[in-house]
């Protein structure tokens, strides 16, 4: 009995605390039926439990209070300050009795008759004093017109959105229920669902409908009807429609059954009656029913669940974690002794442990719906306040996650939904003007995906206003206008996650969204989650949050470096790449900084060996290495490790306080074999690698922008030194590999320098013709260019750096082998003409092409590109491939040639050009003139699908990437042969 009593005390104290708050709210919002019924339910629960435990004094006090509340709920009494005071007094009495109860273990003696009398008098007097109380509910709070206490059920539950969702849930269940499936057979479920929804809405006082009754004319047994009602009730419960209202709706459904199945069409009556303000008669039965329901339900729930101290669960979880670790250890030992007689029992132990772990994990799991519980209310209030129409649709409330995680995301989620309603959803007029339905929709969707939970917050509002964000970015000095120019919309949108971005001043009018989105992101990242944002102006916004199911056990990749093992949390691992000196992927070094070219992007690499100062004597990582591609925010980098083991479920343990200052570790753990290993913190590594500083994602993003910017204008250039004079540069994309060749292996054949390279002889050409080739010791840095089967090495003195720079060739070169000079990294730099050296190495480098290309009948090609660099780079190559090339630097000049009557077989045009851009040029060409039939190929360094589509629309025949030399020649030939075929 003691346990039961203490449980009762805990629960009732909780309830009383809630009641205090709720009552005050009710006083401010006397017409909030939801609140009222919640209060009623709580008091009722207190009363019920007291009776059950045999506490007559408490019971009688609670009963008197409930009595008053019941009258209020039924509209017979008004919520006045007096009523609230009385009920608060009643609660205080309950609390004081409970205090004694807690101290002494039994109900104290005392007299409550006075309080009860005044409560009863108020209940009776109220009835007498307020003959038509519900008729004037709008009087006390004149502003709160939209929610009179007699508001239709329709409005109370949140309109069509809720009903739709209820029916959706109900139908999902109905369709899975073999008993009732047959009832709807032969009809389109979608239609029936629609009818059901419309009818339910109408029944609740929503918009009228002409839809036939969903159950009209359907033969069904009582059990089937009951089953359908059961599903509907389940739907109502899922959507957390307050029990009282749910009961009313169910009452209506039952009431309608006779008329519907009986064929009568007088179904309109109940809603009409419902909608009338003083529904004394109509309302009496459902509440009574509700009470019965409530009792039945609560006792049922009470039998099935118990309250457990959270600490106990935490301890249990820790113990199970230990058990799992021990199990792993034992299994590890077992692997060494294959035929052990322990094998079978240990397997059993293994299974039992797994199940136990799962079970205990489940005790910590709570449906995400718990974190959403407050949202409908918030949305409802906000929509009233802001005079907007908003539907909140919640999908996947049953999705469960660890309570610790749940607590952590509760506030961020609430915040985001509030933001959506406040800033994203437009007013009905605005929406109408934008051609959208008046009612905005916010959808929450939660689901599992591979050990993670994905929560999406979608709205169909106005999206993030790029221009305003840009202005704000510049205003706050987060980026310059020039930098913004190079950013995609998505990158700009990311700025809403910046600290202080929109908390400043006029939140609503400025950024559209984002009171403290930085806090949201920080909170989510704190629990190892990620948040992504996609928004389209005018269409809406989607946030996608990815969080681990639980914090206690995470999936981690175990890697080895310098003989020591480390764990990297799986959530930050994007992919695993193997790099080797002779494979496709290869670690390259710029000034000792390792990088990896991965799918046309330069991935910065972090050497774990160096970062953790492991084995400093080993000078550098071998080139055969694994690269763990890791993502921190928007910053991607690779961690170089020696070996990669399995992924393992690990129990994260915090590191000892004296090691906590080491930022590259987020914790430590014990592996299956009993060894202790450190868990790497990718955030810390990124910060420690100097590229980005912790807590300042700006740098990370800038870093990414920098690499993105390559696609726009700046190109990565390899800087090196060779011979006298200025540093030299070559576009990195033209270089196949960087090698260091042992000078001893350089041989001389046919008066040329060659080296054996990948089973072939590779000719070496010195960039500096006066280079002294007599040195036989040491390493010779070589840039390898390759094309088809040919490779050649260009010997240089020193590889300096890789920089990204805009290539403006300022001075055209006279010297063969130079395209010209440009300013790179603040220094005059020679841009070398690779073509020159290629043909030095292989006289037939381009010649072999000529044979299989166009042949004697050389084709004329017009190249339009504003960049001298590309004209100079591509013309020789095209010429070498057998084309006669005319190059001009603008569309205007090209059109002038057309006017002059020049003929070309094919036109290649750049897209981004000052003045007339590629699209305009193409349009002009295709519009008129004798070039109309000439195929035009777009040449661009970046191509989004959108751009491609645009290109096709204006008449480009094909598209080729700027650095794709082989592709260019191929495309040209293809386009020409098509023309020939068509002709």
């Amino acid at each position: 009995m003691d346990d039961l009593l203490s449980e009762f005390l805990t629960e009732t104290n909780e309830n009383l605390a809630v009641l205090d708050v709720e009552l005050v709210k009710l006083e401010q919002n006397p017409n909030d039926n939801e609140l009222l019924s919640n209060i009623f339910r709580l008091v009722h629960t207190v009363k019920g439990t007291c009776g059950f435990l045999g506490l007559p004094r408490l019971e009688s006090v609670a009963h008197a209070g409930e009595n008053v509340l019941g009258k209020v709920r039924d509209g017979e009494l008004e919520v006045t300050a007096e009523a609230v005071t009385l009920i608060l007094a009643c609660l205080d009495r309950i609390r004081s009795i409970m205090g004694d109860l807690e101290a002494s273990g039994s109900e104290p003696a005392g007299d409550d008759s006075e309080l009860i009398k005044s409560l009863n008098a108020f209940a009776d007097g109220g009835r007498a004093a307020a003959p038509a109380p519900a008729a004037a509910p709008a009087a006390p709070p004149p502003a709160a017109a939209p929610a009179p206490s007699g508001a239709s059920i329709y409005e109370q539950i949140g309109g069509m959105g809720t009903i739709d969702a209820v029916v959706e849930v109900a139908f999902a269940r109905i369709l899975g229920d073999l008993r009732v499936k047959s009832v709807f057979e032969g009809d389109s479920i979608d239609h029936i669902q629609g009818y059901m929804r419309d009818h339910l809405a109408k029944m609740c006082g929503g918009p009228d409908t002409t839809a036939p009754h969903p159950l009209a004319g359907r033969a069904m047994s009582d059990t089937q009807f009951e089953a359908i009602c059961g599903h509907l009730q389940a739907g109502l419960n899922t959507l957390e429609v307050p029990q009282q209202i749910a009961a009313m709706i169910m009452g209506l459904v039952y009431a309608e059954r006779d008329s519907a199945t009986g064929g009568s069409t007088s179904a309109a009556e109940p809603p009409a009656a419902e909608a009338a303000p003083p529904p004394a008669a109509a309302k009496a039965p459902p509440p009574a029913k509700k009470e019965a329901d409530g009792d039945a339900k609560e006792s049922a729930v009470a039998n099935q669940s118990i309250r457990v101290n959270v600490e106990l669960l935490e301890n249990l979880m820790t113990m199970v974690s230990e058990l799992v670790l021990t199990r792993n250890q034992v299994l590890q030992i077992l692997r060494k002794h294959k035929d052990s007689e322990f094998a079978a029992p240990l397997q059993r132990l293994n299974h039992v442990t797994s199940e136990l772990q799962e079970g205990v994990m489940k005790t910590r799991m709570q449906p995400i719906g718990n974190a959403w519980a407050k949202l409908p209310r918030i949305i409802r209030d906000l929509s009233h306040e802001l005079k907007k129409k908003i539907d909140l649709v919640m999908i996947g409330q049953d999705t469960e996650l660890d309570r610790q995680v749940l607590e952590m995301i509760k506030d961020p989620l609430t915040h985001m939904v509030r933001n959506s309603a406040d800033h994203a959803i437009e007013t009905p007029e605005e929406r109408r003007r934008a051609g959208k339905p008046e009612t905005g929709k916010i959808t929450l969707n939660a689901y599992h995906e591979g050990g993670h939970i994905i929560i999406e917050v979608n709205d169909d509002g106005k999206g993030l206003p790029i221009d305003k964000i840009k202005a704000k970015i510049v205003q706050n000095g987060l980026a310059t206008e020039a930098e913004l120019e190079n950013m995609s919309d998505q990158q700009i949108q990311q700025y809403i996650f910046k600290p202080g971005f929109s908390t400043a001043a006029k939140v609503t009018s400025v950024s559209g969204r984002g009171v403290g989105m930085d806090v949201v992101r920080t909170n989510i990242e704190k629990i190892g989650g990620t948040i992504e944002l996609r928004s389209q102006e005018g269409k809406g916004t989607r946030f996608s949050i990815k969080i681990p199911l639980t914090l206690a056990i995470v999936s981690a990749l175990v890697v080895e470096c310098a003989g020591e093992r480390f764990a990297i949390p799986q959530i930050s691992v994007v992919e695993l790449v193997r790099a080797s000196s002779n494979g496709e992927l290869k670690v390259e070094r710029i000034n000792d900084t390792p990088v990896l070219r991965l799918r046309n992007k330069l991935l910065p690499l972090v050497s774990l060996r160096e970062k953790l100062q492991l084995e400093l004597e080993a000078e550098r990582d071998s080139d055969d290495t694994f690269v763990v591609v890791t993502q921190v925010g928007t910053y991607q980098f690779g961690i170089m490790v020696d070996r990669v083991f399995d992924t393992e479920e690990i129990v994260v343990k915090p590191v000892s306080p004296i090691l906590r200052h080491i930022e590259v570790f987020s914790g430590n753990t014990i592996l299956g074999d009993g060894s202790v290993i450190m868990i790497l913190d990718p955030n810390g590594i990124a910060a420690a690698s100097g590229q980005i500083s912790m807590g300042d994602a700006d740098a990370a993003e800038k870093q990414m922008l920098r690499s993105r910017a390559i696609n726009d204008e700046a190109v990565p250039l390899l800087l090196f030194r060779a011979g006298q004079g200025a540093p030299k540069a070559v576009p990195l994309a033209l270089v196949a590999r960087l090698e260091e060749i042992d000078r001893k292996t350089i041989e001389r054949s046919n008066d040329r320098l060659v080296v054996q390279y990948r089973g072939q002889l590779m000719p070496l050409v010195a960039l500096d013709p006066y280079q002294d080739n007599s040195a036989v010791e040491g390493q010779q840095p070589v840039l390898v260019f390759s094309d088809r089967d040919h490779s050649m090495g260009l010997m240089v003195d020193e590889i300096v750096d890789i920089v990204e720079a805009k290539l403006n060739v300022d001075l055209a070169a006279e010297t063969p082998g130079r395209i010209g000079s440009a300013i790179i990294a603040g220094q005059a730099t020679d841009i070398i003409d690779t073509g020159h050296y290629l043909s030095q190495a292989f006289a037939d480098w381009f010649g072999s092409r000529r044979a299989d290309s166009v042949g004697d009948n050389a084709k004329r090609v017009l190249m339009v590109d504003d960049s001298a660099f590309f004209r100079n780079l591509l013309s020789p190559q095209l010429q070498a491939a057998g084309f006669i090339v005319t190059a001009v630097d603008s569309g205007d000049k090209a059109l002038a040639l057309a006017e002059a009557g020049e003929h070309f077989d094919l036109i290649i045009s750049d897209i981004e050009m000052p003045g007339m851009d590629g699209f305009a040029f193409c349009e002009a060409v295709k519009k008129s003139g004798h070039w109309q039939q000439t195929p035009i190929i777009a040449l661009s360094s970046h191509a989004s699908p959108k751009e491609l589509a645009k290109g096709r629309a204006v008449g480009f025949d094909d598209y080729v990437a700027k650095y794709d030399r082989e592709g260019l020649v191929h495309t040209l030939n293809e386009a020409l042969s098509e023309v020939r075929g068509a002709a």
């Binding site: 230990e322 953790l612 306080p657 090691l659 200052h661 080491i662 570790f665 014990i670 202790v676 450190m678």
Partner: protein
């Protein structure tokens, strides 16, 4: 055991009647006898597999797994400013709990538990090596040797010198 402390012999006469008895786990570090109150010691372990923790202060030898709990191993020699131990003999671990965390002190060897009389106790002599003085709670005069009482709390207080790696 320097000559200057010979006078200690006299005081360890069998006069345990007066004064308080206290139990200490004794251990040697670089030939010096140390003691830790027996109640603060959780475990005494033989040689263990200690996983090195990169970037940790040099006094931190690494972490070890003690029945599923992670214990941070502190090497007493560098901590006390003593020369490193030669590798011929693996260290022993004395596991202590400090502010809810387990630490293992790596010492050269662990001896018996001694019950010592407070009459033989005295505060640190002012001439004591300053490095030792920081970590010593006092000295017991034993028969033929001196025992330095180690202060676990100050040994494990890396608080304001976490950057002293």
């Amino acid at each position: 055991m320097s000559a200057a402390k010979n006078g200690a012999d006299r005081s360890v006469a069998p006069t345990a009647a007066s004064g308080e008895q206290r139990d200490y786990v004794t251990m040697t570090i670089a030939d010096q006898l140390f003691g830790i109150p027996v109640l603060t010691v959780q475990d005494v372990l033989g040689p263990q597999n200690i996983a090195r923790v990169p970037l940790a202060p040099k006094e931190v030898a690494g972490s070890l797994n003690l029945r599923g709990r992670i214990v941070t191993a502190i090497d007493a020699r560098p901590r006390l400013g003593l020369p490193p131990r030669d590798n011929s003999k693996p260290p022993m671990s004395v596991v202590v709990e400090h502010e809810g965390e387990l630490y293992s002190l790596l010492v050269d060897s662990v001896g018996e538990v001694l019950s010592l009389n407070s009459r033989d106790y005295q505060r640190n002599p002012p001439t004591l090596d300053p490095r030792l003085r920081d970590f010593s709670d006092g000295i017991y005069r034993l028969n033929g040797s001196l025992l330095v009482v180690l202060s676990v709390a100050s040994l494990l207080d890396f608080g304001n010198r976490s950057d002293a790696a």
